[in-house]
């Protein structure tokens, strides 16, 4: 262990100004170090203002907002259908999870029925997305701690998942595949075989990453006992996702507030006890295996369901198939109406929370009865999880700050949105 964990109960979240102010008379002189916004190990444009006493971190102030794109505000001037493409761009490592959260909220507003085939496909793709997102976390986390091979191996498997996304939606990353009422297009014929080919290899590949890291003494030295986030503090900060589960609290919305029929899938919620960087690593590795398990069940379910509708047949929500519009005037009207004006959900609001790879992702939509949302708010896990960073980092070395930031897996597009 590189440094002795200091038992601080300081839950305060400093702002950059608290750290950069000159030392008062009688205060100890400390050094202020700017980490980021252009620093590879902050995983995006995150600026960390670090107060140092020698090599030891005295205080950290996360400074966010460098990637602010005004997505929530822009949604207010776009129809519900058009706003969907912006959700891809919040958490750009898990666009399908964002798509899902948004369409579930809109569907709740509209109170519309989703065909079972679409729901099973959504579960399958979102779990693949979880694996791909965790692979990016694993690769970059290991790369930050100088384990290069894991990064290359992880991205190789991620590429296979992105290829599946390209197969179904036409885009590797900005998929926009889930639409209000179901899916954008039906799953292609080669989809089951492609997914099966990936699911056949993934467990062996996770074993390989574990061979490289799990018992590696260098890895243990850099991660064990580093950046401890205990259960009490995790709850106080509102941390969700692997960070919370590594602290010993079994809280996973897929189990605790099931959506998309997750209660009918057989899977476990991995937890750990210590809440350090190593435990967060273990939890995410176990989660990838569980996700692969859910994928197998969802694939079987798609097979059992057979071909069927992939989008709701309610023509007031989803446009009709294009083959209909050349010979049905009514379909043509619906098609034009939906693509120009869009659908009008009733007045009211809807709140939907799902378990994204990073934690609890929620969308809150207020509708005033017009075709455009009155207000969209996204509760993004990265933003909330980042609050715990000063608490976790105090008392450790600068090098540990890199490790524990990576283990929280922030995505800055989601922090600033």
């Amino acid at each position: 262990m590189t440094s002795a964990p200091v038992a601080t109960r300081d839950l305060s979240i400093p702002s950059p100004g608290d750290i950069t102010r000159p030392a008062l008379a009688g205060e100890k002189e400390t050094m202020v170090l700017n980490m980021g916004p252009h620093h590879p190990s902050t995983h995006g444009v995150l600026r960390l203002v670090v107060e140092l006493d020698g090599e030891t971190v005295v205080n950290v102030a996360p400074d966010v907002g460098f990637l602010h794109t005004g997505i929530e505000k822009s949604m207010e001037s776009k129809t519900y259908q058009k706003s969907l493409v912006m959700t891809d761009r919040t958490d750009y490592l898990a666009p399908l999870s964002n798509n899902l959260c948004y369409v579930l909220a809109v569907e709740k507003l509209l109170n519309c029925e989703i065909p079972p085939r679409a729901t099973a496909a959504r579960v399958l793709l979102v779990e693949l997305q979880r694996i791909s997102s965790h692979l990016v976390w694993l690769g970059t986390h290991a790369l930050d701690l100088a384990a290069m091979s894991v990064f290359l191996y992880g991205f190789r498997e991620r590429e296979q998942i992105l290829d599946i996304f390209e197969l179904v939606s036409g885009a590797r990353m900005m998929t926009s595949y889930f639409r209000v009422g179901g899916l954008a297009y039906d799953l292609p014929a080669e989809f089951p075989a492609t997914v099966q080919a990936f699911l056949d290899i993934i467990d062996g590949r996770i074993d390989e990453y574990e061979d490289l890291l799990t018992h590696n003494p260098l890895w243990l030295e850099r991660t064990k006992g580093i950046g401890i986030l205990d259960a009490e503090a995790a709850v106080a900060f509102g941390v969700t996702g692997p960070g919370l589960r590594a602290a010993g609290i079994s809280w996973d919305l897929r189990k605790d507030m099931p959506y998309c029929d997750y209660d009918s899938y057989d899977f476990a919620v991995p937890i750990a006890q210590n809440g350090d960087t190593y435990d967060r690593y273990l939890v995410r590795m176990a989660e990838m295996r569980q996700s692969a398990r859910i994928c197998r069940q969802a694939l079987q379910r798609l097979h059992d369901l057979g071909p069927g509708p992939y989008v709701t047949t309610d023509r007031k929500i989803a446009p009709p198939p294009k083959s209909e519009i050349t010979h049905s005037m009514e379909s043509l009207i619906h098609h034009f109406k939906l693509w120009t004006e869009g659908f009008k959900p009733p007045r009211g609001d809807a709140f939907v929370a799902i378990e994204s790879p990073r934690g609890e992702l929620a969308t809150y939509i207020v509708s005033d009865g017009s075709p455009k949302p009155y207000r969209v708010h996204m509760r993004t896990p990265s933003f909330v999880n980042l609050q715990a960073l000063p608490y976790m980092a105090r008392g450790y070395l600068v090098a540990d700050l890199v490790a524990l930031t990576a283990s929280m897996d922030p995505v800055l597009g989601e922090v600033d949105r």
């Binding site: 776009k78 900005m174 297009y185 490289l212 018992h215 446009p319 693509w339």
Partner: protein, 165 residues
């Protein structure tokens, strides 16, 4: 302790004797999937007529306002499209386009299609605007029959409400 390091080294050593999964990009190009959303193309019918009827639904569906359509009335002697109108100007700003495919989904005549070309670099902002001439496929590359609903040109004198659909 050393054993664990050797276990990892054995994994990396195994890969030393395997074929690489990467390709040398500019020389070798990875094939894209059928549904890949790349550069747009404006399609034609089998007889060479433009599929685009200038309805501007693509421009309305575009979330990033990247499309400009200026429709014009067809010349009855030499029509450009089988409908009453055609797109006199059709421009896509590739700096704004996010390749979501909504234009393709919205197009009632399957005129605009996102094809597989993905190398879209340019030197200045002006050349990011793709004009109709750049997007339209050559006349011999048309395909498909004109649906009856569009064959209205010879029946123009009758009021639209009486057109038999």
């Amino acid at each position: 302790m050393l054993g664990e390091i050797f276990k990892g080294l054995r994994t990396t050593l195994r890969y030393l004797f395997r074929q690489p999964v990467t390709v040398e990009y500019p020389e070798i190009k990875r094939p894209v999937r059928e549904r890949f959303r790349g550069r747009h193309e404006l399609k034609r019918f089998g007889n060479g007529m433009e599929r685009c009827i200038g309805c501007s639904l693509c421009a309305a569906a575009c979330p990033s306002d990247a499309i400009l359509v200026v429709p014009a009335e067809n010349n009855l002697q030499q029509p450009n499209s089988p409908g009453e109108r055609y797109a006199a100007r059709y421009e896509i700003n590739m700096l704004r386009c996010i390749f979501c495919g909504y234009c393709e989904d919205a197009c009632p005549t399957n005129a605009i299609v996102l094809e597989h070309q993905y190398e879209l670099a340019f030197y200045d902002r002006k050349s990011s605007i793709y004009t109709k001439e750049m997007l339209l496929v050559p006349a011999e590359q048309g395909h498909g029959d004109i649906p009856p609903v569009l064959q209205q040109l010879d029946r123009r004198p009758s009021p639209p409400a009486q057109i038999d659909l």
